[in-house]
Every structure is written in structure tokens, then in C-alpha cells.
């Protein structure tokens, strides 16, 4: 019978597609990074949403959360907006409102590069940021989201 070669070919094709998909996912995945001293190991998406919306402002130990985001135009910014369900203008308006309500001191600091994000993570123990997985550097602790690490199947931020 000719079934065996067909099965082998299909398996090779599926493996190839899977590999491509994984590579694409890895290229697009955005990691949640915190200071190396931060003991947090996993976030759920709702927890992340609360943190980046400024609703959750303290870590479990009482340390204040310090938000760092990328400036408009960066891939990480698009992932952040998608997480919050906001457009760029809605995001700006939201933070203006948060400050006006007294719910926040200021809009999260927008940085121009991942290098600056790394410096911020080093400087502020309570810092958290979103960084392209490819750009994660030593000194950044990558935290799982919904139990998945970046580049793993099922990782939600990309």
C-alpha cells in the first residue's frame, strides 16, 4: 500500500508548519519582565490587565508597582493596547482620566528603547515592562503568563 509514504509526508509537512508557527510566535511574542529581585513567577491575563491599567498598584510584599511602557509605534505598545482593549487615543484619555481622578500620579513612563527599559528594571525594584522576547536581556526576569513562557504554544501576548 502507498499509505505509509503519504503519512510520512503529511507528518513532515505538519512538523514543518508547526516549526514555522513556533518560529513566528517566538518572533512576535512579547515578554512580561520584572526586576530579578521580584519573586513573582506567573501572571494571569486579568492580573496583567489590572496592573497595566493602574488598578493594582502594589506587589504582594507591599512594594509599589512602577509601570514602564514603550512609546507609540513599538510592537510592545500594540500588544499593551490589545491587552487593555484600547486604542492609542483611548489609552491617553484613560490615563489623563486616571490622573484627574486621583487614581494615578502620572501616565506610565513611556520609554524609547528596550535598553532604557532594562535600565529602568535595574533602577526600580518594583518595575514591570513589556519587551519583545527577542530583546530580553540579562537582568530582566521573564514572567510566565497564564502558565506559559514566551515562545511556548498558548502564550497569549504577541
Amino acid at each position: 500500500m502507498h499509505t505509509k509514504p503519504i503519512i510520512v509526508l503529511v507528518a513532515i509537512w505538519l512538523a514543518g508548519v508547526g516549526g514555522i508557527t513556533a518560529a513566528v510566535a517566538q518572533a512576535d511574542d512579547v515578554a512580561v519582565v520584572v526586576s530579578e529581585k521580584n519573586p513573582v513567577a506567573n501572571f494571569t491575563q486579568p492580573e496583567l490587565r489590572k496592573i497595566f491599567a493602574g488598578e493594582k498598584r502594589s506587589w504582594a510584599g507591599g512594594q509599589s508597582i512602577k509601570l514602564f511602557v514603550r512609546a507609540p509605534g513599538a510592537h510592545e505598545r500594540a500588544v499593551l493596547l490589545n491587552l487593555l482593549g484600547m486604542s492609542e487615543s483611548e489609552y491617553k484619555k484613560y490615563w489623563t482620566a486616571q490622573v484627574f481622578r486621583g487614581e494615578a500620579q502620572a501616565e506610565p513612563v513611556a520609554l524609547f528603547s528596550n535598553g532604557m527599559q532594562k535600565e529602568a528594571l535595574t533602577t526600580f525594584p518594583g518595575a514591570i515592562a513589556l519587551v519583545n522576547f527577542q530583546d530580553v536581556k540579562p537582568g530582566m526576569k521573564v514572567v510566565k503568563v497564564d502558565g506559559h513562557s514566551p515562545a511556548e504554544p498558548g502564550y497569549p501576548l504577541h
Binding site: T44, P46, R49, E55, K56, R57, S58, G62, S64, K66, A71, P72, G73, A74, A78, G85, M86, S87, S89, E90, K92, K93, T96, A97, V99, F100, R101, G102, Q105, A106, E107, V109, A110, L111, F112, G115, M116, E119, A120, T122, T123, F124
Partner: protein
């Protein structure tokens, strides 16, 4: 270019090392980071221009660096986000301003809503509403100060200054955030979410039931005292609480006759609970109960009554949708008699962002008992609809049509145009 990169790296390391040694405060550190970026950008531009000047053959190539990463298109005229933040910070004090210019027309000359500079009885006129200045400053990691100063137009082009809010905030944890000072009471959702700056709200005006007391509203919208809020460990339910105790001495503008009732004496208690369930991001459902003892001088110098206000709200804001719903029961029980007045009120508002345009629809309802403390409101209800157009992230133009049915009085139709801005 390799030397340029090395120079930048050394500058960053040197500056950050200095910053760590000096151990400045957090706002100062952020300010330093922003200044460093600006300094580095200038340095890079200088070095690049020097390089181009010294190497005229490659000048064209220098103008189009090969390794420049391409990013999605953004508004090239817009200043960087960090620069905007820097512009709104002065020696650690964040500031922001809100303003508006309004034009309002009513089809009735009977005095109505004699506030915000709108001349009662006139067919239409311009006014400036509130000009708001918000100042906030972080004292340390946990403590901060907020103040909101409003320059309001009372009667036509007569202005007054009001310290709308002044708060000392202390965030002990996510479960306990404390505020001391003058605040907007947590009666329902709208009063805590929207303050004097009309740029933030979709419609040109507040729902009538949520109108500030000094501008003709029915609720005690401001108080001086203590306010506590925070999250309650409740898993995916996302429960939060609010508790307030303070003096709600407010002057209640008489809606129809421009008189003033003094609503004073005693301290109010307000407790509320609301949930933001994780399963439906953007949804908030909650309620509050407010109680105070107040005076009604229209019933005599000693007329005292208990005021209880029950609120329930359901709000959904996500993906450009804004859906606000609030209901109230305002109960006035006179102490010297068995007279009790119950006044129901609600509003429902929905809008959807469509690029720069946000069409909206609102329906509101108030039913005040005749002879009661708020009888000038009578039964009134009706729709409002209109559109908000955002020119950019700071300027919006709103047009709003109102139709209000009033018991025993002619229907009221209005057109409200508003240019609202923030800076």
C-alpha cells in the same frame, strides 16, 4: 557610528551610576532619564552631523542609515510621550488644565438651569463653563497630594474660584487607600469618574441627577472628610469597597428660581461596593448607600430631615464602547413629622467610538415629589443625543440635542455646542 554607540553607552552608564549614587527620588529619577534621552538625542544628532561634515562622500548614505529600524507610522508632529509627561511636570508637580467654550440654546424663556454662565430666560448665549487646573504631587512612594481648582462662570461673565478637590492621599496597599480633604462623594459611578473637566466626558453636560449641587444638581456631590477605598480579596469577582465619612455642607442651587437652599449640619456616611469581574473586562457593577441629616429652611428654621440615597450602577467601558447606567432612590424623612418623600432617578447613556467620532445617546429621568425638599425638579425626563468629534488627543467638539418633558410645564428643547480641551 561604532564610536557613537560606545559614547552613548558610556554616557548612559555614567549618568545612571551617578544617579544611583545620589539616590534621587522617583520623580527626579524619571526626570533625569527623560533629560538623559534628550541629551543623548542631541549628542547623536551632533555626532552624526559632524560625521557627515567630515565625510562628504558618504553624506547621502549618512542621511539614510541602513540599520534604522522601521516602526509603524505615527504622527510625526506629535511630541514623544515622555516629552508630554515632562511638559506636564514642574519640579515634581504634575499639572493639567481643562477648559471649554459653550453655546446653548433653549426653546423656552422660562428660567431654567441658571448656571455655568447661561443666562436664564435667554434664547441662547455663549459661556465658558469651568476652567480647571489639576495639580498633583508625589510626596513619597505611598503619599501624594491632589488639588483641583475650578474657575467657574456663575452668572454671565462673573467668575468665581472654587477649590473643587484638595486631597492628601496615602496608599497603604491595594486593600487600603486613604484620602483626606475635600472630595467628590462616591455616590454612584459618575461623580467619582468625572469631575469638572468636561473634556473627559462624552456628553456636553453631566446627567441632571449627577449635576454638581452648586450647579443645580440634586445630590450632595462634594464633602470634606475621610475617604477609604481598596480591593477586597474575592478572586475573579474583583470586589472593591468605598467608605466615606465627612461634612457634606453644600449649597444647593435651586434649579428653577435661582435661589439657594443651605444643606448643612451633620456628617454623612457613605459606603459602597462594586465588582469588576475578571471574566468580563470593562464591566463594573456596584452600589452605594449614603446617609446624612440636613436642614430644610423652606419648612422653617428647625426643619430637619434624614437624607438617604441608594445607588445602583452598571458600567461597561471597553473596545470603544461606553455604556453607563445608574439608578438612584433619594429618600427624605422629616424628623418632626412622619412625612417621607421618595425620589427615583436614573440615567442611561451609550456611545461608541468610530475613529474620531463618538455618537451618543442618553435618557434621563427624575421624579421629585411636590412639596418635598427638591420639588422644583418635578417630574422630568427625556432623551439627549449628539456627537463628540475629537480633533486630536486634546481638543474635542461636541454637539448635543436635548428634549425634556416636564410635569406642568412646557417641554424643553435645547441645543448645546461645546469646544472642550485639555492642555
Amino acid at each position: 557610528m561604532r564610536h557613537t554607540g560606545t559614547a552613548i553607552l558610556l554616557l548612559v552608564v555614567a549618568n545612571l551610576s551617578h544617579a544611583q549614587v545620589a539616590a534621587p527620588s522617583e520623580p527626579e529619577m524619571i526626570q533625569q532619564l527623560v533629560l538623559q534621552v534628550k541629551a543623548l538625542q542631541e549628542k547623536v544628532e551632533l555626532l552624526e552631523s559632524q560625521q557627515r561634515a567630515s565625510d562628504p562622500v558618504n553624506a547621502d548614505a549618512g542621511a539614510h542609515p541602513v540599520n534604522t529600524p522601521t516602526l509603524p507610522a505615527v504622527d510625526s508632529n506629535a511630541p514623544p510621550a515622555s516629552l508630554i509627561q515632562e511638559l506636564h511636570e514642574l519640579r515634581g508637580i504634575q499639572w493639567r488644565g481643562f477648559g471649554e467654550v459653550d453655546y446653548k440654546v433653549l426653546n423656552q424663556r422660562t428660567p431654567e438651569l441658571g448656571t455655568y454662565g447661561f443666562v436664564p430666560g435667554s434664547h441662547g448665549n455663549f459661556y465658558t463653563g469651568d476652567f480647571d487646573l489639576l495639580l498633583t504631587a508625589r510626596i513619597n512612594d505611598k503619599a501624594s497630594v491632589l488639588s483641583e481648582i475650578a474657575f467657574g462662570e456663575g452668572e454671565a461673565q462673573i467668575f468665581s474660584v472654587d477649590l473643587e478637590r484638595v486631597l492628601f492621599n496615602y496608599d497603604y496597599s491595594d486593600h487600603l487607600r486613604m484620602s483626606f480633604g475635600r472630595y467628590h462623594t462616591g455616590i454612584g459611578y459618575y461623580n467619582r469618574a468625572f469631575h469638572s473637566g468636561t473634556w473627559l466626558q462624552t456628553t456636553a453636560d453631566r446627567p441632571l441627577v449627577m449635576e454638581f449641587a452648586h450647579d443645580g444638581g440634586v445630590l450632595p456631590t462634594q464633602a470634606v472628610g475621610l475617604s477609604f477605598t481598596g480591593s477586597i480579596p474575592s478572586g475573579r469577582l474583583g470586589l472593591n469597597y468605598i467608605a466615606e465619612y465627612g461634612s457634606s455642607d453644600t449649597h444647593l442651587q435651586n434649579l428653577a428660581e435661582a435661589g439657594i437652599d443651605d444643606e448643612d449640619n451633620g456628617n454623612h456616611v457613605n459606603v459602597g461596593l462594586f465588582a469588576r469581574p475578571e471574566s468580563i473586562p470593562g464591566l463594573q457593577i456596584g452600589g452605594s448607600i449614603y446617609h446624612d441629616r440636613i436642614s430644610d429652611r423652606s419648612h422653617g428654621p428647625d426643619a430637619r430631615l434624614g437624607q438617604t440615597i441608594v445607588n445602583g450602577h452598571m458600567v461597561y467601558i471597553r473596545d470603544g464602547i461606553e455604556f453607563l447606567n445608574e439608578g438612584f432612590l433619594i429618600r427624605h424623612a422629616y424628623e418632626q413629622s412622619s412625612t417621607v418623600y421618595n425620589m427615583p432617578a436614573f440615567y442611561s447613556q451609550i456611545s461608541k467610538q468610530l475613529h474620531r467620532v463618538r455618537p451618543f445617546f442618553r435618557y434621563q429621568y427624575i421624579n421629585a415629589n411636590s412639596g418635598g425638599f427638591l420639588e422644583e425638579f418635578v417630574l422630568r425626563h427625556g432623551p439627549s443625543f449628539g456627537m463628540r468629534f475629537d480633533f486630536n488627543d486634546s481638543i474635542a467638539f461636541k454637539t448635543q440635542m436635548d428634549h425634556t418633558k416636564r410635569k406642568g410645564r412646557p417641554d424643553l428643547n435645547g441645543l448645546h455646542l461645546q469646544l472642550a480641551y485639555t492642555f
